[in-house]
């Protein structure tokens, strides 16, 4: 398979292009003319302080927010994403920073929420969904046992596993991960890192929001840094050091050497 770097060098059409995206909340420009793109099998890190606008930017792609201006292209075609259902039809799956779980439902109901498996009579098939849920959780978090309890009874890490499972189960082509390891311990964080490598190898494109610069250096192909709603710049990870990324985040300036 052609690597994402070669694809970019060939000038191939990205699977996702977000061009000049702007969105304001009551006068505050949360995202201001930001452009990012993503190739198959590529992991693009989104970095920046709290409040930089990272979550808002990706929520435009996942259909949670409506942009004020800008355009989204999927495989070169301009698309309208006006709600989360639209995003799902483009095989865009999202792990939200807030996890977006219904606390009163069990893991399987959350995993299949909005896409339930039904019986021939159109009734929800809880047994089949639980069986699928057991399978996928077995691969993701083998210690997971609480299948019949509401997710409010789970630990932060277990809840995060459910949110991750939901995003990867439905054959995502484009995956958005907003601080997916925030609630995880070191071991589970390592498992998510391995998962990202696997998904990447399958040709899935991933936007990864993470505060850990080392993790970004390890997992990502490129990184886009945001500050105060604006894009500081996008760099190739191979061309920069940890310190370069940190200074981009803190100073909001792109290092001279690295141009991507």
């Amino acid at each position: 398979m052609t690597s994402p770097k070669e694809l970019r060098a060939q000038g191939a059409t990205p699977m996702v292009e977000m061009n000049d995206i702007s969105i304001a909340f009551g006068g505050v420009k949360a995202v201001d003319k930001v452009s990012v793109d993503l190739h198959p099998g590529e992991v693009v890190g989104l970095l920046g302080h709290n409040g930089a606008g990272k979550s808002t930017l990706i929520k435009v792609l996942s259909g949670a927010y409506q942009m004020d201006s800008g355009e989204i292209r999927i495989n070169g075609n301009k698309v309208e994403i006006t709600n989360p259902r639209d995003a799902r039809t483009h095989n865009i799956e999202t792990i939200y920073q807030t996890l977006a779980l219904a606390d009163n439902l069990d893991a399987a109901s959350n995993l299949f929420l909005g896409r339930e498996i039904t019986t021939p009579f159109g009734l929800v098939n809880d047994a089949a969904m639980e069986a699928e849920c057991r399978k996928i959780m077995g691969g993701l978090n083998p210690n997971f046992r609480k299948f019949s309890e509401p997710v409010s009874a789970l630990s932060g890490g277990q809840r995060q596993s459910v949110a991750i499972a939901r995003a990867v189960y439905f054959n995502a082509k484009i995956l958005i991960m907003d601080e997916p390891t925030a609630a995880l311990g070191p071991h589970e964080t390592q498992m998510v890192a391995e998962l990202i490598q696997q998904l990447k190898a399958q040709g899935i494109g991933i936007f990864l929001i993470d505060h850990d610069v080392h993790a970004v250096m390890e997992l990502c192909d490129r990184a886009s840094v945001m500050k105060n709603g604006q894009l500081v710049g996008t760099v190739d990870i191979d061309d920069v050091t940890d310190d370069d990324l940190l200074s981009m985040i803190i100073l909001g300036k792109k290092p001279e050497a690295a141009a991507a």
Partner: protein
């Protein structure tokens, strides 16, 4: 991730006999409270409370509030409230009263007891209730006006629309067939009641066994056979016991004689005939079954509970929560209209104050039945049991001779206490 080995299911630990039954402790607690209540009143009334006659009356008095309480569960589960159900019931009742006494006889030329009158009337009433409910839901969901305000306004509006439509007059008598939906004027008789009871018991047992089969098919843990047998026995036993009690309430000899004379027959000496299941109770049972299936086995129900648990999560999962709100309130309106059929048929007329304060009874029934106002939690059977407990308290106290003001003081106290006990119980369980 690509690995799809099934996870080993933990060995079922040795547990107490009682735990193996996997009974719902909340339900058990409520049934326990209800049984204690009934026995207490029975002692205080020297055995008058638990007679077939009183149980029959209690049941038909509960139906109207219980039907609406099942809909209120969905409303409250999604963090809304409906203060207009009593007023909406009045409007639906007025619409149906005017349809059968004015509209059909004078405009279409169908008489009051014409064979299609009752059916047309009910269809018109149900349509009116559903439309008004949907309108409330549209204002809540799409205009984002809080449900409290929409339905508080609705309470004033619909109570007085009903008044305006009828000039505040009591409208009656109503159609003979229509009045069969009220309770004592329409019962199935003993034979049919037994047949219905047997079929219901068989269906209930089949449903339990079916659930077990589905679990076994996926190799999930199931209850031991003996526990399953006990549950089946208890279920079938309660259904048939209920039929037996209602069947043992006999039609008084004088009334029976009049009924037979009306049909041109003479009553043989010593004939005893039981009432059997009232049609209104069958309607409630049908509503309970359908609403339970909706809550637990349909996407609609799943979305209702998901939205109640976390509205943002539901929205982000692609659920159209606005349309969902419209559907929930439309369903509530439909159930108000159904209750209006039962309530006005039971009274044999439409009166201007029909359904007054029902909104409070309905909300209290749902809440006593374990529906949490914070959303996401509630059961249909709980709400029906809640309605039954409230009605038992009222009629029990009336039979004991408790003064009216004290009756309401007690019911109000019970409401608050029940919710408090529920909060303590949930904290013990560690859930929120």
């Amino acid at each position: 991730m690509t690995e799809t080995t099934s996870q080993p299911i933990p060995e079922q630990q040795k547990r107490g006999l009682f735990q193996q039954l996997e009974l719902d402790m909340r339900l058990l607690g409520m049934i326990g409270a209800f049984v204690i209540l009934c026995i207490g009143f029975n002692i205080l009334t020297d055995g008058r409370f638990l007679t077939p006659r009183n149980i029959f009356n209690l049941t038909i008095q509960t139906v109207s509030v219980a039907i609406m309480a099942t809909g209120m569960v969905f409303v409250i589960v999604t963090r809304h409230i409906d203060l207009s159900v009593g007023a909406l019931l009045a409007t639906c009742s007025a619409v149906m009263a005017m349809t059968q006494t004015e509209l059909l006889p004078h405009v279409l030329g169908l008489g009051l007891n014409h064979p299609v009158t009752w059916a047309v009337t009910i269809v018109v009433g149900l349509a009116a209730g559903t439309l008004i409910g949907a309108f409330h839901g549209w204002m809540v969901g799409y205009l984002t006006i809080p449900a409290f305000i929409v339905t508080l306004g609705g309470l004033l509006v619909w109570r007085n629309v009903a008044w305006y439509m009828t000039d505040g007059q009591t409208i009656g008598p109503l159609d003979k067939t229509f009045m069969m939906f009220g309770g004592i004027n329409g019962t199935m008789g003993t034979t049919w009641s037994w047949i219905i009871g047997l079929v219901a018991a068989a269906l209930a047992v089949a449903a339990i066994l079916n659930g077990r089969r589905a679990k076994l098919a996926h190799e999930f843990p199931v209850k031991p056979i003996w526990a399953e047998t006990v549950i089946c026995g208890l279920t079938a036993g309660s259904i048939l016991g209920f039929v037996w009690i209602l069947n043992s309430y006999q039609i008084p000899a004088r009334r029976l004689k009049r009924m037979m004379e009306a049909q041109g027959e003479t009553m043989p000496e010593g004939l005893v005939v039981g009432y059997g299941l009232p049609i209104s109770v069958l309607i409630l049972i049908g509503v309970a079954v359908v609403m339970t299936i909706v809550a637990q086995r349909t996407r609609l129900g799943r979305y209702i509970f998901a939205t109640g648990g976390n509205p943002d999560a539901a929205e982000l999962s692609g659920i159209n929560t606005r349309m969902l709100t419209v559907k929930i309130f439309a369903l509530m309106g439909f159930l108000c209209a159904l209750s209006a059929v039962v309530a006005s048929a039971r009274l044999a007329n439409h009166s201007n104050d029909i359904g007054t304060l029902d909104e409070l009874r309905v909300i209290a029934a749902a809440v006593i039945g374990g529906t949490a106002l914070s959303g996401g939690i509630g059961t249909i059977y709980g709400a029906i049991l809640g309605a039954l407990i409230m009605q038992s308290l009222h009629s029990g106290m009336a039979m004991v001779g408790v003064d009216a003001p004290f009756q309401n003081i007690v019911v109000g106290t019970v409401l608050v206490a029940a919710v408090w006990i529920d909060i303590v119980y949930r904290k013990r369980l560690g859930a929120k």
